[in-house]
């Protein structure tokens, strides 16, 4: 079969539910419930660091998770530090796409209640440097302002001052450099491909909660009672997965029948 027909079918299967929502139910999984309950119970004044590892190729999946988590945190009495240790391009994604999508309450003041720190190079080394000396790595925030003058940054001297670290993407680096060294609690917003990596850390208690891909973001949006981008994409997600499952089943049946035909011919000979 020409592969282009399969590609065309996938496009139709995705676009139709986006235009005509079916309204399939989205049950809340225990994983998302665990993360929601943990986040909701954070004490007043908790200082949270969130490190989105988004690139231009991965932000359609990670951005809904980041947005829904930040929306939840912004409505709690918490202080948020948004950092970027992944790619330089993540800076633009967070500044121009993620932050404008947030519902920031009017009583949340930039500099006092939340801060966006620009790019910290070095990936794991960057996380380690930031955790050991947050004000010594970079002096400017994501908007070019003086970071050292922001009141929230006066409250942190090292990783032990962080009450929660949220890794959006791979949790390994932050587990090694923050959770292990400073005993900082961690949660993870994992992409689909990284879910299998994150689960052992959840089982061992190193991660307090895990959100998996856009499905987790949709469930979280429902728990927050603010359905958004992730919920609107769930019908299309279900449709394309059913299409893939049927394709795999039909492909395997065809393969078995084809094999039997070959074996049958040899027996006759």
């Amino acid at each position: 079969m020409n592969r282009r027909i399969i590609f065309l079918c996938v496009i139709v299967v995705v676009i139709y539910p986006l235009y005509n929502p079916i309204g399939l139910p989205i049950p809340i999984s225990p994983l998302t419930r665990q993360l929601f309950d943990y986040t909701d119970a954070l004490p007043s004044g908790t200082i949270i660091v969130i490190d989105p590892w988004m690139s231009t190729g991965s932000y359609p999946e990670l951005n809904p998770m980041t947005v829904v988590m930040l929306n939840h945190l912004m409505n709690l009495d918490t202080k948020i530090i948004i950092i970027n240790t992944h790619h330089p391009e993540t800076l633009g994604i967070i500044k121009d796409i993620t932050i404008p999508m947030l519902d920031i309450p009017t009583d949340k003041v930039y500099g006092e209640d939340w801060v966006f720190i620009g790019f910290i190079p070095g990936m794991e080394l960057g996380i380690s440097s930031f955790a050991s000396n947050p004000k010594g790595v970079v002096t400017k925030d994501g908007y070019g302002g003086d970071l050292t003058k922001l009141p929230l940054m006066q409250e942190v001297t090292d990783g032990s001052d962080f009450d929660l670290w949220i890794a959006v993407g791979k949790p390994d680096y932050a587990l090694r450099q923050v959770q292990e060294v400073y005993n900082t609690p961690m949660t993870c917003l994992a992409p689909g491909g990284g879910a299998a990596e994150a689960m052992p850390y959840l089982a061992s208690g190193q991660l307090k909660g895990v959100m998996i891909s856009t499905r987790g973001a949709a469930e979280y949006e429902l728990l927050l009672q603010k359905p958004g981008l992730a919920v609107s994409g769930m019908d299309a997600t279900s449709a394309v997965h059913i299409f893939i499952i049927l394709g795999i089943i039909i492909g395997n049946i065809y393969y078995v029948l084809k094999q039997k035909k070959i074996v049958g011919n040899k027996v006759l000979e």
Partner: protein, 228 residues
């Protein structure tokens, strides 16, 4: 519905151009890839320069003059462009890789070996909860048999063969689950992009480019038929 601004139209064009590889390799795809590589490389270069200047200024302001040594070692990387002194570029590479490895190992043993293994130690029977008991037995059995699969000190016969086979099945189940989540991830990326394209503020641009793509495909088919 109105035609989006030029920047959005360019983004929609690039999206269609990248997906055009699904039809066949074409000049629009190659152009888009070349543009992406050029833009990303220059963006990274400027960012690296700005970040380096910012870090050097920060450390000097804190009277940490060891950054000057780090700067000089880092500049040695550029000696790789001149063949007679390119051996000097190995020193900064050595520093980068060794420091990176040491920093990674610092937390690795506990965070990625000991603690996850502690997570496997679970009760085989949970009173009043058969499902949890069953889950715990499966987790422990799969973990042990999967670990045993990678032992090569005993000949595989008898009971050892069965354990080895069980380990292989455990690994294959894990790989299957990983493959499923990867598929989920890829479909999420595609759906996210489709949501962006059919947004009401951009739908007019999407329709224009869709008509253009259909026209391109029909023209291509016409040329194919003509050449036959």
């Amino acid at each position: 519905m109105q035609i989006p601004e030029i920047g959005v139209l360019v983004a929609i064009f690039y999206t269609f151009a990248l997906y055009s590889i699904l039809y066949k390799p074409n000049i629009f795809y190659k152009f888009t890839v070349a543009t992406l590589i050029g833009a990303a490389s220059s963006y990274w270069a400027i960012f690296a320069l700005n970040s380096s200047i910012d870090i050097i200024q920060t450390r000097l302001a804190l009277q940490d003059y060891s950054i000057i040594l780090a700067l000089l070692v880092g500049l040695l990387l550029f000696t790789s462009f001149k063949s007679d002194i390119s051996y000097l570029s190995r020193y900064p590479v050595m520093v980068i890789t060794s420091v990176g490895a040491i920093v990674a190992v610092r937390g690795m043993l506990s965070a990625q070996l000991v603690e996850p293994m502690m997570g496997i130690i679970k009760p085989l029977f949970v009173p009043g909860n058969l499902l949890d008991s069953f889950n715990n037995i499966i987790i422990i059995a799969c973990a042990l048999t999967a670990l045993f699969y990678f032992t090569f000190t005993r000949e595989y016969k008898g009971v050892v063969t069965s354990i080895h086979r069980a380990g292989r099945i455990s690994i294959l189940v894990g790989l299957g689950a990983s493959y499923g989540t990867q598929l989920f991830s890829r479909s999420s990326l595609f759906i996210g992009r489709m949501q962006w394209l059919i947004d009401p503020s951009r739908i007019m641009g999407t329709i224009i480019l869709t008509v253009a793509v259909i026209g391109f495909i029909l023209y291509d088919k016409f040329l194919e038929g003509k050449s036959k």
